[in-house]
């Protein structure tokens, strides 16, 4: 298995005058927990969106494990094994928490698609994951009726349901209770131990520093520094641009 996971080359996306992502060439390490940090508006989410095909990049290449996935449709990216969560938490409001999970089941082939959605296997797995993030007691409530943080947890669990090799999380800890953040950390570590790659956008330094093996710092749509947490943390540019001390 190559150590090359997700790579971008001169990825660029601008909206009108705003250069959201500006020739970003980044390489994330396979099987590691990567962190992507940067000030508000530095292009992290847009970067995610370009990579996962939610929006088309103006130029540049995206490759995953060696093969080119530039401009592939989101569901293709997902099929390729990349799962992502949204910053502005997105769940299916009028579906029950459990059904929210089941959407993530990745069908193989027509027959599999036509098979019953509520089969024991899928449900059991969904329950496990819900229990993991601590909202399994809500499985029958509709997603619109649970608190914001609970929705974030649900979204995370939903992504895990697709059983991705690479998991891109956009501010998973935002609005989540600290005690639970700790638990999320453990969850991420375990999944990583199973060989899953993580790319996490997060403003919670505590989490980033304690969790990640490799940190990429974005500013104005391009990486200004990368390396292991310790070095990045003390990089003057990072201090200036991001941490602000």
């Amino acid at each position: 298995m190559s150590t090359r996971s997700l790579e971008t080359e001169g990825l660029t996306k601008s909206f009108g005058g705003v250069h959201a992502v500006n020739g970003a060439s980044v390489a994330f390490q396979d099987g590691k927990i990567n962190a992507l940090i940067g000030p508000n508006g530095s292009g992290k989410t847009t970067f995610f969106n370009c990579v996962t095909g939610m929006i088309r990049a103006d130029s540049g290449r995206v490759s995953y494990r060696g093969d080119d996935v530039t401009g592939a449709a989101p569901h293709r990216i997902a099929a390729a094994g990349i799962g992502r969560s949204f910053q502005l938490c997105r769940v299916f409001p009028r579906m029950t928490v459990l059904d929210n999970m089941l959407v993530g089941v990745r069908p193989q082939g027509l027959l599999h698609r036509l098979r019953g959605g509520h089969n024991a296997g899928d449900i059991a797995r969904a329950r496990q994951l819900l229990g993991r993030v601590g909202i399994d007691h809500l499985e029958r409530s509709e997603a619109r009726d649970i608190s914001y943080g609970q929705q974030k947890l649900l979204e995370l669990a939903g992504v895990l349901m697709t059983d991705p090799e690479t998991i891109m999380l956009d501010e998973p800890a935002g609005g989540v209770n600290p005690a639970l953040i700790g638990r999320l950390g453990t969850l991420v570590r375990e999944l990583n131990a199973e060989g899953r790659t993580f790319i996490i956008v997060e403003h919670n330094m505590e989490m980033v520093m304690s969790l990640s093996h490799h940190v990429v710092v974005f500013d104005r749509g391009a990486p200004i520094a990368e390396g292991d947490p310790a070095t990045v943390q003390n990089d003057p540019r990072v201090l200036e641009a991001y941490l602000g001390v």
Binding site: M54, F92, M95, D99, V105, H137, E142, T162
Partner: protein, 368 residues
């Protein structure tokens, strides 16, 4: 802050409590009773007219169920489904008249043809959501109206088109009604079966996800456009079958009545009325609407007042049972269920204890 009303589309995998089991039993009984009633109807009908009303309602039901493939699953409201029933009707008729096909063959071929035509239409119109889609669907039917009116040498234009009878003339009219009643019922049954199969399938869950949040669904690996297109075509197919069947029964096609927004709207009304998220919603809606149409006409005979009556009825339903009749009933039933708490009945401490305890086991579960 709206109340936490849960649409009882039964999609909560667990049916553990005795309450649920009782409920299920009730449903089954109701279903069987309904079925028996439907099958016995032609026998019970006092005269050919009542029978013909039955056929009309059955054909409404077929149309509504056809519509509900798109409306119910994807939440795309098409006010223009008359386009497909109309096309179905004309296709069937022309295949018989000009193509010399056997009526039933023509019906099938016609519907398939419409399904094929629906592909490009879907590709074009499914690009937009919400209001725009509604409008596009209306446009669709209006175009076809204009075309079928102007293209007289094929469609017979405004002087209409006579559809040959599938049954020989010695089959008397009441007999015809009876046969067509069963034919329509069979069609509805098949459509429902397919709907049900999709509803419980992963495909179905994907579709519902599209209804809720299309982009999110896509990012979870649901090929949204393909899914939408597929149900759209299925819907067009069944609607066309219903349209063709009606044409065979009624025996006369006139553009104005085939491609009318009113028919399309009726499909929407019936489905929403019954409840688009429930299997039998459209059927129930069709019965209510079909019956009321007859009833109001009968009451307010020669004045436009029957329109008012219909309007008012619909208004009331929308305001007081927005999810449709069936879900409304479902909610009533749910009152008796021990209220599901929506707040965690477990303090942070308990959570901590539980989750830490159970972690190892879950770890390998998840990795499967």
């Amino acid at each position: 802050m709206r109340s936490a009303s849960k649409a009882p589309d039964g999609t909560t995998g667990t049916s553990g409590t005795t309450f649920d089991r009782v409920l299920l039993g009730g449903k089954v009984l109701l279903l069987l009773a309904g079925l028996a009633l439907v099958l016995a109807f032609p026998g019970l009908a006092p005269d050919a007219f009542i029978l013909s009303v039955g056929v009309t309602i059955a054909s409404y039901a077929a149309l509504a169920v056809g519509w509900n493939f798109v409306g119910g699953f994807t939440g795309y409201i098409s006010l223009g489904h008359a386009a497909y029933s109309g096309l179905g009707g004309y296709a069937t008729a022309l295949l018989i008249i000009d193509g010399g096909l056997n009526p039933w063959l023509a019906l099938g071929v016609g519907a398939l043809g419409v399904a094929v035509v629906a592909v490009p239409i879907g590709v074009a119109s499914l690009r937009v959501r919400g209001a725009s889609f509604v409008i596009v669907s209306i446009a669709m039917v209006l175009i076809l109206l204009l075309v079928s009116q102007s293209w007289a040498d094929v469609t017979g234009g405004s002087s209409g088109l006579r559809v040959p009878r599938p049954f020989s003339d010695d089959v008397l009219r009441p007999e015809q009604h009876e046969r067509f009643f069963y034919l329509h019922v069979a069609l509805v049954a098949v459509a429902l079966l397919v709907w049900w199969a999709i509803d419980r399938s992963r495909f179905g869950i994907g579709l519902k996800a599209i209804r809720e949040d299309e982009d999110k669904a896509q990012s979870l690996g649901v090929p949204t456009f393909k899914y939408k297109l597929v149900v759209f075509v299925i819907s067009a197919f069944f609607t066309a079958l219903a349209g063709g069947m009606y044409a065979l029964w009624f025996g006369y096609l006139d553009p104005i009545f085939q491609f009318s927004i009113l028919i399309g709207s009726y499909m929407v009304l019936m489905s929403l009325l019954g409840g688009i998220r429930s299997l039998f919603g459209p059927v129930v809606g069709a019965v209510i609407v079909g019956y009321s149409l007859e009833y109001f006409k009968n009451q307010y005979g020669d004045s436009q007042f029957h329109l008012v009556a219909l309007g008012l009825m619909l208004g009331l339903v929308v305001l007081f049972m927005p999810d449709g009749v069936l879900p409304a009933i479902g909610q009533l039933v749910n009152r008796f269920r021990p209220t599901a708490t929506s707040i965690r009945e477990e303090s942070a401490a308990d959570l901590l204890a539980r989750t830490t305890k159970t972690e190892p086991r879950q770890a390998e579960e998840v990795s499967r």
